[in-house]
């Protein structure tokens, strides 16, 4: 089935050429479906990034939280004494606070992460300087799109203290909100009340790097989870992903059914001509091959146009729409669309095999 001049492609291609309107409609439908699939995959991917990119950046293997936190960072409160690094290569403490930050002009929901300055969680600075003194933060660079700049004084919803943006880092969103990085002392001043006794250092989690999570020894009331499980338990993350993935899978089924119906109707219309060809001795296999070849051409064209349209749409979307294309994933989805279309064509193949040449010639 290579090239338009050979084998089963010959019939397939000539029929397409001579029935342009009909086949343009088929391609159009496939194009719209694949456009939607690609767009949804971009959206799913973008929403994932929105939730997890800060975590991915840690390149950590696991997270230690309290047993009773239900894997929610905010709900996990533990002491720095609870873990001494037994069984891990590297570990660092993470404290966080969620707040509404305002530069006087705009208000945004942010996460403030206190990280140890010399740990692997320390973000790379893409613009400006590292935080050094009290009240200084490095901010996720998506805040720039909201009009935040280096030097901005941020007032917070929960305290009278202010923060100053001294630098920006990239890819630092957590659970759909930008992250501000600072040190533990600064974070301490932001808490409106002390969480526990003053002499005890309190953090939300330990972030660990290790080859084997099973070897990690932590205190009784703590649990060690791998990073992926931690991410999946971010509020809304799994629900969101499942919803979009389910939509994409439904679209696969829809495209198979739609194409199957189209091809079936086209095949029904051609029963007499296929019958005559079979009477002549042209094999069912050749005729079926031509329908499959045709489906391949149609779905390939539809998927490619859909892909191009989705990418072009992505370029013109406002930043508020979190579309991020993963080209490898799109390649997989595109291939799946073509494959399910061909599976849809097999209903027509069965019809062709069953055509009785005798009836076709009016015997």
């Amino acid at each position: 089935m290579k090239g338009k001049g050979s084998g089963a492609m010959f019939l397939a291609w000539n029929e397409i050429k001579n029935n342009r309107l009909r086949f343009t409609l088929v391609i159009g439908v496939l194009m719209l479906i694949s456009y939607l699939v690609f767009f949804l995959s971009g959206l799913a991917n973008g929403l994932e990034q929105l939730n997890r990119e800060a975590v991915d950046k840690w390149e950590a293997d696991g997270v230690i939280l309290t047993e009773e936190s239900d894997l929610r960072l905010q709900q996990s409160i533990l002491s720095t004494d609870d873990f001494d690094g037994a069984g891990v290569d590297e570990y660092t403490e993470l404290s966080q606070l969620s707040a509404i930050a305002s530069n006087g002009d705009k208000k945004v929901n942010v996460y403030i992460f206190a990280v140890e300055p010399d740990s692997f969680m320390m973000p790379n600075v893409t613009e400006g300087d590292n935080f050094a003194g009290r009240g200084e933060v490095i901010a996720d660079d998506t805040l720039k799109e909201d009009g935040f700049k280096i030097g901005d004084e941020l007032s917070l919803s929960s305290t009278d203290e202010t923060l100053e943006i001294v630098g920006f880092t990239d890819k630092a969103r957590f659970n759909a909100a930008p992250v501000l990085f600072t040190d533990a002392e600064t974070l301490e001043t932001l808490h409106s009340r002390k969480m526990t006794e003053a002499d005890e250092d309190v953090v939300n989690a330990f972030i660990i790097r290790t080859d084997n999570l099973d070897d990690v020894e932590a205190a009784e009331a703590l649990q060690v989870v791998d990073t992926e499980t931690f991410i999946e338990n971010l509020p809304g993350y799994t629900e969101q992903n499942l919803t979009l993935t389910l939509m994409i899978y439904f679209l696969f089924i829809i495209s198979a059914v739609v194409l199957a119906i189209f091809l079936y109707v086209l095949t029904i219309q051609k029963i007499s001509i296929f019958g005559v060809m079979k009477a002549q001795g042209i094999s069912s296999r050749y005729l079926a091959g031509s329908v499959v070849a045709q489906t391949f051409l149609l779905s390939l064209a539809g998927v490619m146009i859909g892909f191009v349209l989705a990418v072009i749409t992505g370029l013109f979307l406002p930043a508020a729409v979190p579309v991020a294309f993963n080209y490898l994933e799109m390649l997989v989805y595109g291939t799946v669309l073509i494959v399910v279309s061909i599976i849809g064509a097999f209903i027509s193949v069965q019809t062709i095999v069953r055509i009785d040449p005798l009836k076709a010639i009016g015997g």
């Binding site: 050979s6 084998g7 010959f10 019939l11 000539n14 029929e15 050429k17 001579n18 029935n19 007499s272 001509i273 005559v276 060809m277 079979k278 009477a279 002549q280 001795g281 042209i282 094999s283 050749y286 040449p357 005798l358 010639i361 009016g362 015997g363």
Partner: protein
């Protein structure tokens, strides 16, 4: 030597009270270069005869032998191959593929079978059928007579040893009908095929070597034409 032979072939449909004998026991032979007409009123079993002879349906009893191969010995897949190799059909309804032009109608046969006519031979065929100027036309742009001539070209293109034509002149006026019969006769002699034309049009039988008549499924040799040539 007989290219096509029907030995004691009989065909019944249904059983019991609804049993219909579409073809009574028939012996039939067709040899190289023979043009044979099968005539009879509609419903007499002409089509049944043609489709059995062409291997499109199997007889209830008896045997069909095409060029030495008994059809009952082989499976449908092989029968399709045998049809492709040995039998050229010229059908009542045009057997042209609507989305292929005349040249492509032949070309598709090259895709599924080897040993078809070479370029020069095919061009000579188109010339003698008077369709050489129509090669890039699609079926919808052809007149009834032109379509029928293309269908004949298509039937002959694979170099078959048997041509089975079902009412090849049905959609044509008298002049065209005689013209098409003339072409079939010419091709039969030139290509040495066994050509069987099923028709209800008795005006056309003068060109034939033998005429069979079917009445109520019973087939009998009606006439052997005498020739001076």
């Amino acid at each position: 030597m007989a290219i096509l032979e029907l030995k004691k072939v009989q065909k019944t449909f249904g059983s019991g009270k609804t049993k219909v004998e579409a073809m009574k026991e028939t012996d039939f032979k067709a040899g190289k270069g023979e043009l044979i007409a099968v005539i009879g009123p509609s419903g007499s079993g002409k089509s049944t005869f043609l489709t059995i002879a062409g291997g499109l349906q199997t007889p209830t009893n008896g045997e069909v032998v095409i060029n030495g191969t008994a059809l009952s010995d082989i499976k449908e897949k092989k029968r399709a191959k045998l049809r492709l190799k040995e039998v050229g059909f010229v059908l009542q309804a045009s057997n042209l593929v609507p989305y292929l032009n005349v040249a492509q109608q032949m070309h598709v046969l090259d895709k599924v079978k080897k040993g078809n006519m070479g370029r020069e031979e095919a061009e000579a065929l188109y010339q003698s059928l008077g369709i050489e100027h129509l090669l890039y036309n699609f079926p919808k742009d052809l007149s009834g007579g032109e379509k029928q001539r293309v269908a004949i070209a298509k039937a002959l293109y694979t170099n078959p040893s048997i041509i089975l034509a079902d009412e090849p002149t049905a959609s044509l006026d008298s002049d065209r009908a005689f013209e098409v019969m003339g072409i079939l006769k010419e091709m039969t002699k030139e290509k040495q095929t066994a050509t069987i034309v099923v028709t209800h049009d008795t005006r056309l039988i003068n060109d034939c070597d033998k005429v069979y008549k079917i009445t109520d499924g019973k087939m009998e040799l009606h006439e052997i034409m005498r020739r001076t040539t």
